[in-house]
Symmetry: C2
Subunit: 471 residues, 2 copies
């Protein structure tokens, strides 16, 4: 009789096939406790394979406790291994299909240009780091990150962003999202309140709200968060923090004025809360140097979030927190219990990339490219839609907001535009108080070439016209 | 008069020095709203520097809103910018000091050998990936990780661990710690219960307990978690999951028998809970092939955690979850809100490293090395302490547990040993029910060379003798 089927053409070793067949018989109860297995010699003959293959399979079954050996009389099924409803899964996993929609022009915001990422330079930097990094870099490291990087970064931040911090105040994170998650973890609880710009990235709302904290929306106008709405919140319900994106508000693109920055600090002092400054997009300011951070004005009040996703690559997942001294230890601990620390090799590569001047050169180069794309986009919008369009937030960043006097961007309209080959993102997706920004869409241009930008705006016009929305 | 001091020797650009001095005067209220600034020409003369430097500083103050320009009559301080208690921090951050204790022999567990990490090969792999990765790898990616890696990994897991999973069941994480944190986030709430091996890694207890969940300890004996203690828990208080480290229990080092694995699955089915299988250390089994996973026996009941920290390097922070189909989406979402995804470049490098056969070769090579170190450690212990020492968990992994008949490892004793130049880790640090394992220490040998192992055991003997504990 043939005990089992084996298949020489399968990409599974014969040992494993025998092991699986026998194991399954035992688990399914076909072979019960005390059942005597065929000898390895007999099995090998029947299957016409080397006896060693069978011995190896039996050894594995023995080691894992499925079978027992009795001196001189062979192998027997061990007791207590019947498992009801046991069914082996499909043999081999299938590769997962790719997913990319073809031909669509996607104005997704927050994606920097990917073509120009200095692959070769970054790759070589990592390679050199692997070659000469201290041994400790390959082991477990401190949660706040490598000292080499924090030293370089604190100098970079002072030079470029007016951020004041000793390296000890920095905790490296896996991107800005992790920084937000850590803030939620350390500072929020179900009874907490957060004052937050409205509109604001949907993901940020979700992260803060997932702690059970209550989000108190503060509207944004052309000068950033409306500070007069701040003082209206009752003081007996002081927030844990105020969340702002002062350099280039997301999504509206406005810059918080210095007067409002001062008012914000005064407010935070009066109710004794923190300010969380998400300084995303600050480096790309087109008509002037970057605006200095709020952190530099009140280092003990501000939790500063930075990221290398926009100025380098989101795929690297590198970001950081600059913290008031009183909070440093709690964040180190929270980072440890989240993922211990961020990849040390990546950190050392970044340190070298900044130290050797590559980062600042790259930012300068990309700023020129983005400036041209921005110009191309705003020109195309104004040429096409004339005074039916108003543009917000063009001073900085990788996206603008276009407000249309004659359109409301409902899901229907967005779907019609997608059918016309262009994907745009309604500001309403990011609002807490609904209905005030239905006329606006976010248009990211960081990763869209100039020809595509022009074509994208043409499709936008066509799509809106087809939907009966041409003015 | 001199308006401000500048210092040409400081590593801070003159523009920034002027900007800071003026800004601070405004913030401190020395210059109030409407105050007229000296002309750029006059400032340049006084400071004996180029006028362009001054113009640049004024531009920055203007752009940030500190000063206003009045046609033809120069710059004036803007209103509303006085900030009480403003004090600028120290100018430049100081590099942080390193920290390493010299000469100490540290039997810390869980650290693999760092000297042998294939730096050069890994560095070149990353470089090649940077060179030829698809553009998408440098942008935002899906939370579960790159398909290229999940495809390779699912085949690797089937081949080496008997884990059955389609690539769609895998979520890549930043190490096993993040996998644990995600499990806590998705499955635990303040009223939840977790059945957990006792003793178990302190960090794991902290991560689960931080959700407010209640940890119900189940003792571990020589066959792993004591299953008869499981059924004693009341069914009306079913746990969210049972947490086990079946390949090489941490810290005790025992392997869960096949009979207990079956009982565990039956228990999980009977109370309808999950099993979390932390398969750390499974690859290094010295006298036989690795024991197959529980996951392969009941893929819909088991959440499987794997990590590349032990078999490659903890510094890379690469791990993964294999999930029951019903849970996949929730974990993808949780990962997205934690840090979006793990570095795509690192993922692609790992995929290539596995696919080209380097990982399995490296594991084979390291297994030989670790086996020799293990032998060296157990020999030294037995030679030195004779029958006063019993050794647990030597079948696998990177650590053993030594139980001493004549010692209780109190903090005093541990400190005395450290003074004698050897650091050991009491099992009691990881116990929930206290007092049952005071005679045991964890001795990690993954990153300790053979000469150091021998010397470490000699210091252990000397340290104990000095403390009056020689038998």
């Amino acid at each position: 009789m043939l005990w089992i089927d084996i298949d020489r053409d399968k990409p599974i070793p014969l040992t494993r096939q025998i092991y699986c067949e026998f194991r399954d018989k035992i688990l399914r109860g076909e072979w019960t406790a005390g059942f005597k297995l065929p000898s390895t010699r007999k099995m090998a003959q029947e299957l016409r394979i080397s006896r060693n293959v069978v011995i190896e399979a039996y050894d594995q079954l023995f080691v894992e406790g499925y079978i027992e050996s009795r001196q001189g009389s062979g192998y027997f099924v061990a007791p207590g291994i019947y498992l009801e409803q046991f069914a082996r899964g499909t043999d081999l996993p299938q590769p997962s299909p790719g997913d990319q929609s073809e031909g669509l022009i996607d104005f997704r915001s927050g994606v920097p240009d990917l073509e120009h990422f200095p692959r070769s330079l970054w790759g070589k930097t990592v390679q050199r780091v692997c070659q000469d990094a201290p041994l400790s870099a390959f082991g477990y490291n401190r949660p706040e990150g490598r000292a080499e990087l924090r030293d370089v970064l604190s100098r970079y931040l002072y030079r470029t962003r007016g951020v004041q911090c000793a390296p000890e105040r920095i905790v490296m994170t896996s991107g800005a999202t992790q920084a937000l998650m850590l803030i939620a973890k350390v500072l929020l609880a179900p009874e907490s309140r957060v004052l937050i710009e409205d509109p604001i990235t949907q993901d940020i709302q979700t992260i803060f709200a997932s702690t059970g904290a209550r989000l108190c929306p503060v509207p944004v106008d052309a000068c950033g968060m409306a500070m007069d709405k701040l003082s209206a919140t009752p003081v007996n319900a002081a927030p844990s923090f105020v969340f702002v994106t002062p350099s280039h508000q997301f999504p509206l693109g406005t810059t918080l004025t210095i007067q409002r920055r001062i008012q914000l600090i005064q407010y935070a002092r009066s109710v004794d809360c923190y300010i969380v400054e998400d300084d995303y997009d600050s480096e790309f300011r087109y008509e002037s140097p970057p605006i200095s951070s709020i952190q530099g004005l009140a280092p003990e009040r501000v939790i500063y979030i930075g990221s290398f996703s926009k100025i380098l690559s989101p795929g690297l997942r590198l970001g950081y927190l600059v913290l008031p001294e009183a909070l440093v230890e709690r964040y180190q601990k929270a980072k440890w219990l989240t993922d211990l620390h961020t990849s040390s090799i990546d950190q050392l590569a970044l340190a070298r990339f900044i130290e050797e001047g590559h980062l600042e050169k790259y930012v300068t180069r990309m700023k020129k490219l983005y400036k041209k794309r921005r110009q191309c986009l705003t020109d195309a919008l104004r040429d096409t839609f004339g005074d039916q369009v108003a543009i917000w937030g063009e001073a900085a960043g990788l996206h603008i907001v276009a407000a249309f006097s004659h359109v409301r961007f409902t899901p229907d309209v967005v779907a019609a535009l997608e059918a016309a080959g262009v994907r745009v993102y309604p500001v309403e997706e990011h609002t807490i108080a609904k209905g005030r920004h239905a006329d606006k869409i976010v248009l990211g241009y960081g990763n869209v070439g100039e020809e595509k930008i022009a074509e994208g705006v043409a499709r936008l016009e066509k799509g809106l016209a087809l939907h009966g929305m041409h003015g």
